[in-house]
Symmetry: C2
Subunit: 330 residues, 2 copies
């Protein structure tokens, strides 16, 4: 079962799981097929909320679910803190409880580097020391609500693992790039904006961030990591870093867009933070995920951009020019 | 409005607020009058859950509530993590949201030293350096569920203060001693067990903890601190330590019980932890609460024991002999 199965990551995960021969059921409050319409007859869908513990326990039992991939997210920017924390924090606890009641053995949680907080000192610019998987959790200033939710959700999963023997694995993703993100995640999707504007023949102006680097991971690598965590035998850790393991600058990314999409003008202002979340860029040490989950990122910047464009065109996704700046208020 | 107004702290707070001339409404899912039957006609009661945001927003608006004292707790031991976190974490977020919708200007949250985690190094035995009010939050091993809830609740309150200008004050209580605790809080209420067994003419055997010290605060001082935090002008901090500011050993406490209640046998085993939560004892620096809230603890060990016994007798509370040890499993 994929909770949030029709979102950016969920949709990519549906494909990866189907490709690997698994049966898939998605749980999503909306029935938005824009990212999965070509494979809509290959998996089951249920409309519902992660907050409905009783109904979800019944669903998990009736459908004999053996693994939950939990990626349901609402209002990541936290504009409405109550709604955001309800889904993104309490919703994970609720799904853990449904899993316990239905005796589902494993829940893989789509966490984020936001669970870890600011990347300062050696982990920040300009040194970007690789972030070990044991990095402690802490608040992320500028993304407090999302960060709180991810920390509470991880703690809940660890609690259920300790108490009830549930296999809980949190995957802490670096900056994810993937089709559909601009529509769903808003102005922080700087990479999507560059690509989708270029598809529409327009340039992009990014006010800040030309001097920074970040670990940027393509959504198909993210999906692969989740498949690994869902299917590998007894992962020894409860949290893994999932990134590309490489630093990429926005300038490098822009060059790839100009090379593979359209020779439009892309300007990037100074500074290191390209979204208004201070010190949120980092480099992930993904060695534990490699060794213990069998994860191996397959996309570099060029192949990610090429695949992104092919996916957008293949799905017939409209690319509208977006001139918003990368502030939350956009 | 006191959420959890019929519990150990809530009941004492009702009295303190009435004494100070305030109007009081309690919100509690049960209508258990055992701690307030003598004053039941002096305040309003509403049965309800802290989780019902819509109904509580309406209640707050209809009753023109100006201050919420939030002390609703369910299953502090976390035997049922979902139920426990629902009330103790998500329930606080829910009440903050109800307060926002009803434009209630202040919420005082009854937090705990459990929000802070273990007291080790200089803050632990044997040095017990006074814990500053700025001590960072961290997990408390052995009380994970309660600790998680208090941390999430404090973070939620700070978020609502940042976002919406709500005045949020968390009071982090030391070990609270007060009538009614044995029935409600179970075997960890070591102090209550000693007193109530003695009232019934029986001794008490405490297996561990004779070598430790703790900051122990009487429930009437706790109530006074909450009244201060509810009524003082714009408290400058969002979190205060509330204790007696003094270290007391179990042996000292047992002597006071023998002196003021009954000359029964009280034996206390070795070690520093008298409940199975490692390094949970500390000494609180209460200077900020003194200076900024006007809090001044009035009870020492002797006067606390004397008042406890008088309260139990005045309310006609049954004192049953309890021979349980202080492990969560009793």
């Amino acid at each position: 079962l994929i909770a949030g199965g029709q979102g950016v990551v969920g949709a990519s995960l549906v494909r990866a799981l189907l490709d690997a021969g698994h049966e898939v059921l998605t749980l999503d409050p909306r029935d938005d097929l824009s990212l999965v319409h070509d494979i809509a007859d290959q998996f089951e869908r249920r409309q519902g909320s992660v907050l409905d513990v009783g109904q979800n326990a019944e669903l998990l039992r009736d459908e004999r679910i053996d693994t939950i991939a939990h990626g349901a997210v609402f209002d990541a920017q936290g504009a409405d803190p109550f709604a955001s924390l309800s889904v993104n924090a309490y919703g994970v606890l609720s799904m853990l409880e449904a899993a316990r009641r239905a005796e589902v053995p494993r829940l893989v949680f789509m966490s984020s580097k936001a669970a870890l907080g600011q990347f300062i000192g050696e982990y920040g610019s300009p040194t970007y020391a690789p972030l070990p998987p044991e990095h402690p959790r802490g608040p992320m200033v500028g993304l407090e609500v999302y960060s709180m939710a991810k920390r509470f959700a991880e703690e809940s999963g660890e609690l259920y693992a300790d108490r009830f023997g549930l296999e809980f694995v949190a995957l802490r993703f670096a900056t994810i790039v993937g089709p559909g993100k601009q529509v769903r995640h808003g102005p922080t999707s700087v990479h999507s904006r560059m690509i989708e504007n270029a598809i529409a023949g327009a340039g992009t102006d990014v006010a800040h961030g030309g001097e920074g680097f970040d670990d940027m991971v393509y959504v198909k690598d993210v999906a692969q990591a989740i498949v690994c965590a869902c299917t590998c035998e007894s992962p020894p850790r409860r949290a893994y870093n999932i990134g590309s393991g490489r630093l990429v600058s926005l300038t490098e990314f822009a060059e790839a867009v100009r090379r593979h999409v359209a020779d439009v003008e892309i300007t990037i202002g100074p500074g290191v933070d390209y979204i208004p979340v201070p010190s949120s860029s980092c480099l992930m040490d993904i060695s534990a995920a490699r060794a213990e989950l069998g994860y191996e990122p397959a996309y570099d910047v060029d192949s990610a951009v090429i695949d992104y464009v092919a996916t957008v065109r293949g799905l017939g996704l409209a690319s509208e020019v977006n001139s918003a700046q990368s502030g939350w208020k956009g």
